[in-house]
Assembly symmetry: C2
Homo-oligomer: 488 residues x 2
């Protein structure tokens, strides 16, 4: 551990990640196995992510709605491949009442209050939503139907890790219904594009987005597309997916519509979602050994002002700091002045550095007589002087420049760590060393995919493009190049 309580990345990348979450006060484990508490600072980041994404989802003509937390067990038996992929590790509600224990020790489950049919806490909402959609849709006039839900989701994960994999997590799930496959396919790609653009413009993350292989696709889908980000340890993090469900669920849940000519057909569906897992991607991509680094767009506090004074200069410095605060706040949202008397300046520097506040403004006695103040930008930790005349607009521009610097850093890292590879030896060597994204041809057979995974832990992340090459594993001639990586 460093003196700041953050393990350096080169010592243990996974401990570094946990330390950042702890020291930046983003989340913590709760008394319920695998469920985390998202702390106020972490939740404020999530709110910013949500707000920005919600705006974009609505921009696609999608309306929010809310469906039940519980799903009747029998619904999971309806779509056979959906069952296979999902219905196993779920929280099951079997009773609906407690009673006082006979020995007076507290409460126990009332055995007489057993449900006739068990309820599953939603691991995803296709089944409960589509059961409802079948009643909403009868005519072409009802299509397209575009619904999104912000909700909590439960999957009983064996090994959990804050944000990346938790028993309960928060997400958004979009579900659309269309009158033809052309339109639903377009919707799948539109959602995918929304996610990659969101990653870029809001999270400052360059990603790969593309079609998944057969083995990696969503249970019940015709095709799944994924968004893949690169972490600093060379592993890939899938943070969003978009599914072309074809007519698979429509047939099972009987979602039919009558077209303009009076012909009845099953509808075509899509679903797509991102979750609090994105928080993990943001933390792991941008942060450093000093703590969290946040893209300004999602930073709850964008600028922190730290007044530095002796008893004799206290009043004057604080007044000056407040003046600076109001100058910046006139143009920039999320400005905070840290005037806590019981903490030292060093402690404050350290705290806001750990929390990834993009810009720190230092205001001392010496600044009273001059026209500039010292600022430190968190992305590069560079100190500089800034004139106070136009401090609001200068800080605003600097925030933009931090945002774009983080993105260009992410792009560079992605490019630098993407390797086009044609020999399996080279492939294995790369995955033993720095890892990263590997572009290679694959024949499409499950045997080759499994063999690669067995040898290297790497899987196909998404389709890279079409062309001509030899399968990296069996060397058979192949037409598809894939992005491989070791996934989180």
């Amino acid at each position: 551990m460093s003196n700041k309580g953050i393990t350096p990345r080169n010592q243990s990348y996974s401990q570094w990640y946990l330390d950042i979450i702890d020291r930046a006060e983003l989340a913590e484990n709760s008394s319920v196995r695998g469920c985390m508490v998202i702390k106020p600072y972490g939740y404020a980041i999530w709110e910013n992510i949500q707000k920005e994404l919600d705006r974009r989802i609505k921009g696609l003509g999608v309306s929010n709605a809310y469906f039940p937390l519980f799903i009747p067990l029998s619904f999971f038996s309806k779509e056979a491949s959906h069952v296979k992929g999902f219905a196993k590790e779920c929280a099951v509600v079997t009773h609906y009442r407690l009673k006082e224990a006979e020995d007076g020790s507290g409460v126990v489950v009332d055995p007489s209050a057993k449900l006739e049919e068990e309820l599953i806490v939603r691991p995803t909402s296709e089944t409960i939503m589509y059961d409802t959609f079948s009643r909403w849709i009868t005519s072409w006039r009802d299509l397209p139907l575009k619904i999104n839900q912000w909700a909590n989701i439960v999957r009983w994960e064996k090994r959990t890790r804050p944000f990346l994999r938790t028993t309960e997590f928060l997400w958004q799930e979009g579900h659309t219904v269309h009158s033809n496959h052309e339109e639903s396919e377009k919707q799948v790609l539109e959602a995918l594009k929304m996610y990659t653009q969101f990653a870029k413009e809001v999270l400052a993350l360059e990603t790969y987005g593309g079609k998944k292989s057969e083995s990696e696709k969503f249970a019940g889908a015709v095709d799944t597309y994924g968004v893949e980000a690169l972490m600093q340890d060379g592993k890939a993090l899938q943070f969003g997916t978009s599914h072309d469900l074809g007519q698979n669920f429509a047939k099972v849940f009987n979602i039919k519509y009558t077209d303009k000519e009076g012909k009845v057909d099953y509808a075509w569906q899509t679903s797509w979602g991102v979750s609090t897992r994105m928080m993990g991607a943001v933390i792991m991509s941008h942060s450093d050994d000093l703590g969290l680094v946040l893209p300004p767009v999602i930073a709850p506090i964008k600028v922190v002002i730290i007044p530095i004074y002796k008893d004799s200069s206290k009043e004057k410095v604080l007044e000056f700091a407040k003046d600076i605060e109001s100058k910046i706040s006139a143009i920039v949202e999320g400005v905070k002045i840290d005037d806590r008397e019981y903490e030292s300046v060093g402690y404050k520097f350290n705290e806001w550095e750990k929390k990834g506040v993009p810009i720190r403004v230092e205001i001392g006695e010496k600044d009273l007589d001059r026209n500039g103040v010292t600022i430190v930008r968190r992305d590069t930790n560079e100190k500089s002087e800034i004139s106070i005349n136009s401090i609001g607009s200068e800080i605003n521009m600097l925030l933009d420049s931090i945002q774009s610097n983080l993105l260009s850093r992410s792009s560079t890292i992605l490019q630098k760590n993407t390797h086009t590879i044609s020999s399996y030896d080279e492939f294995k060597k790369q995955l033993k060393g720095e890892k990263g994204f590997l572009k290679a041809y694959w024949c499409g057979s499950k045997e080759c995919e499994d063999g690669i995974k067995y040898d290297t832990k790497a899987t196909t992340r998404c389709l890279s493009g079409e062309g001509k090459g030899n399968c990296i594993y069996c060397e058979k001639e192949s037409t598809k190049e894939w992005v491989f990586a070791i996934p989180y």
Copy 2:
């Protein structure tokens, strides 16, 4: 049923309520008993409520956070009176895995995946939050702690009714921790005031707010304050509560802090919340036999423009309507033009009337040559002419005037239906007739409260004031006047 599918209020108030929810497409029952689907239009209203309330909650210096959906069973045995009031009708998770049925018929609960300790789906979050707070709080520096959570809540209600009482509902729960009782009491009243102001300024509802009687208070609280609204059938709807928890939970969950002098003491706590039940209050207060009536502040669509044309005039009218739309949109949010070709003008009028859109703008061929259009305001259903020169600002003013008209109507109804009563005969007569809020003295004894409830179904809703009078039931001299009503 009327020809619009809405039962008139004087025929059946409760069926009218269900018809409004159905015809305005606010919500519907799901396949899970007691759980509703909140449909896009209903959810858009909830989003507006949430946005406005979230802003006000943050204005009190409260931060949002997120705590687990599940609570270990043992937590409910900790606070004895909390158990009594809450822990009975809950959804209980006992298993964490499904498996494929041996007969191949689908999935069943895997009996080997039984949890060691059962988990309760949160019926409220005091216990799980305060378990965490005990780790967050050690010093006076950590206080006050002010946390809010937007979450789904489950209570296994026997009889459910959309929005008013559902097995799963959505809410906000504020939880604060303080270093002294004076401060926590102040917080309790601040939250109460926020709710009554919110009811007034946003929902256009005049309410009573005040302390609850012993029997009506929250399980585990020292004092509970409630906000009570009057429905059109003369019954009261409690739509928010604010609790002074004293040190009750702090002692059970061991929330202690060291003060500036080094003395260790238990902290003082509050909790307060409102839920999707507010939606029920809004629907039942303002609406009429034609459908929903919405206060403009929370209306997803504030203005609907309906173009009326023949084939020959279609192009010109639509162009003109779009021009009007952009003029209004320049000043007002939530403007919609209904240019669906497959629905008649009558159908459109009816649909938006049922959905409570505050202003309808009718644009026909005759309007092309003149400077005015016809508008209809939903609160009074009055038709008038409006000049198109300054249509944006005129519509904006009209929305303000609809909002304040709904509030003044609500105030008048509340006043008119509040009766100061001094004889029990009169009290009983009033509750058999028009009902409403009854102000009467009560000695404070449980016997009298129970007697009144038994005779009339009315309960104390909240404290009205201090003075001198005789208990309405036993006629003993009393110092407290209470607001009584038959509650939902």
